[in-house]
């Protein structure tokens, strides 16, 4: 009746999990609207702040739209993380983990499915806000051109790493830790240099910022906008750090899964 499940990775099983999350999203319009809601509200808010600063700050006046670009890219990072953590939480809320892991689904296939779903959720969340920024403020983040693609991918991947660590903690400590999904990422916001350069930070904190891919992305964004220069050195460092963090995040998730099997947590999960 069933196909052999001996292959190391099955795109059919990964596709099945993505389909499961698409069904969930498709079945609820409020969920889809919710995805775009916060990025849009944030963009509108920072759009007005930008308009104010453009006339009161020579720094912002040099590159109108720098704050809107920053907030949109920050939301890529945030949505990327939520896109991993929320579908994982859905499995916990619905007490479905045991059913999943008695099927031939491998934990790393679940990881790939979560990352795929994060990509979809991030696009649904951020793209409408980006288009609305053109209509409302005549600012198009797409004017950043090809560098935008590198910024988007790097921030998305960084969001994945954080999402995997958050999911691992929820798997290990149960739904008592679920609020981490919404708050964990803000711990790195001050050192991500989203709205200000890394140089603004105290000297002792700057190495922390430079250990994060996000700092390179936002510095790189400002380099494009203020100087018209695409810093490939920043891109390279962000990519290398992301490879490291994504590997680390995946390893932590897989370790948490093994602990869950040892402690019998997969059967106990639920609201």
């Amino acid at each position: 009746m069933t196909a052999p499940a001996r292959e190391l990775i099955s795109f059919r099983r990964i596709g099945a999990m993505v389909l499961r999350y698409v069904y969930l999203l498709r079945g609820s319009w409020p969920r889809i609207i919710e995805l775009a809601y916060w990025p849009t509200v944030q963009m509108i808010l920072w759009g007005f702040i930008s308009q104010f600063f453009t006339t009161h700050s020579s720094w912002v006046a040099q590159a109108a739209g720098v704050l809107i670009a920053a907030v949109l890219l920050w939301d890529v990072l945030f949505r990327g993380q939520l896109g991993v953590s929320i579908p994982f939480l859905e499995e916990m809320w619905s007490r479905n983990l045991a059913n999943l892991f008695i099927s031939p689904l491998r934990p790393y296939e679940l990881i790939v499915a979560l990352l795929g779903m994060s990509f979809i959720r991030t696009l649904v969340g951020v793209v409408p806000a980006a288009f609305l920024a053109i209509a409302l403020y005549q600012y198009s983040v797409f004017d950043l051109g090809l560098p935008l693609l590198s910024f988007f991918i790097n921030l998305l991947v960084m969001g994945w790493s954080i999402g995997l660590v958050v999911s691992a903690l929820i798997l290990r400590y149960g739904l008592g830790a679920e609020s981490l999904a919404w708050i964990a990422i803000f711990a790195i916001a001050p050192v991500s240099a989203i709205y200000y350069p890394v140089a603004v930070l105290p000297e002792w904190l700057q190495p922390v910022a430079w250990a994060l891919p996000s700092a390179y992305v936002f510095e790189g964004m400002r380099a494009v906008m203020f100087e018209g220069v695409f810093r490939t050195d920043y891109l390279l460092r962000a990519v290398l750090l992301n490879i490291f963090y994504l590997g680390l995040g995946s390893a932590i998730f897989l370790y948490a899964f093994r602990v869950a099997r040892r402690e019998g947590l997969l059967l106990k999960m639920g609201e």
Binding site: Y23, L24, A98
Partner: protein, 251 residues
């Protein structure tokens, strides 16, 4: 098929100082219907979870269909399945969506006809397009059973298979399972509190108490050995001998 398809030797699960399953040994032969009976906290679900690979044993060996379930569980997971009222399917997905996802996870080639066929067999076609959260407990149990049969498993593990079902539906499910077994030669291992169900369905009964198997045999053998009239009386004998320790351990 007489060879053992489930083989357990010295299987132990400890959580700190608490011994949930205490060095049990048993085999289940292919095509048999076996049952684990015991009070709450006796170790039935823990044993099932280890057989499924959801839980790592502390000690002992466990093989299913000739494969070591600790090291090579993925070689056999597509040939077995499980249903329990204590784990759920996503309630915001419809019945058809749930079954489609699981059919794909189990690598079933023609998903749609298989899902439809099972829905017809289990009389759930009428609510295929309803979300699981809108169904009654009994309807959800039938959907869970459909999920467990999607891959036509050679080994079917069931935890309380007829809990929350009306007596007539429960009876129908039991008949369905027996017919399924007769047709496919599948092995069924169930954990249950329903003595009449076990007496009717099972040819091999293992009674667990405080993590150990304390007696084993056919229902008739157990009844005769304990000098009782029914399996329920045998069960009560053993549980009362436990002095309620099992229930306290479960708490």
């Amino acid at each position: 098929m007489d060879a053992a398809v489930i083989r357990v030797e010295g299987l132990t699960k400890r959580y700190g100082d608490v011994v949930a399953v205490d060095a049990i040994d048993f085999e289940v032969k292919g095509g048999a219907t076996a049952a684990l009976l015991g009070a709450n906290g006796a170790g039935k679900t823990t044993t099932l979870a280890m057989i499924l690979g959801l839980l790592l044993p502390t000690a002992g060996t466990l093989s299913v269909l000739g494969q070591d379930m600790v090291r090579h569980r993925y070689r056999v997971l597509s040939r077995m399945n499980f249903s329990s009222p204590y784990i759920d399917l996503p309630r915001r997905l419809t019945v058809a969506e749930n079954l489609t996802v699981y059919a794909r996870l189990y690598g079933i080639g023609r998903t749609r006809p298989r899902v439809r066929q099972l829905c017809e067999e289990l009389a759930i076609t009428d609510f295929m397009d309803r979300t699981l959260g809108t169904l009654s407990a009994g309807q959800r149990s039938r959907v869970a059973l459909a999920k467990a049969l999607l891959n036509e498993p050679e080994i079917l593990l069931l935890d309380e298979p007829t809990a929350s079902l009306d007596p007539d539906v429960a009876d129908w499910v039991r008949q369905y399972l027996l017919a399924y077994q007769a047709r496919t030669g599948a092995t069924i291992l169930l954990a249950s509190h329903n003595m009449a169900e076990v007496e009717r369905m099972c040819t091999d009964v293992m009674i667990m108490r405080r993590g150990a198997i304390v007696d084993r045999g056919t229902p008739a053998e157990l009844i005769q050995r304990h000098g009782r009239q029914t399996l329920e009386e045998v069960f009560l004998d053993i549980v009362r001998h436990d002095g309620g320790e099992g229930a306290r351990a479960a708490q």
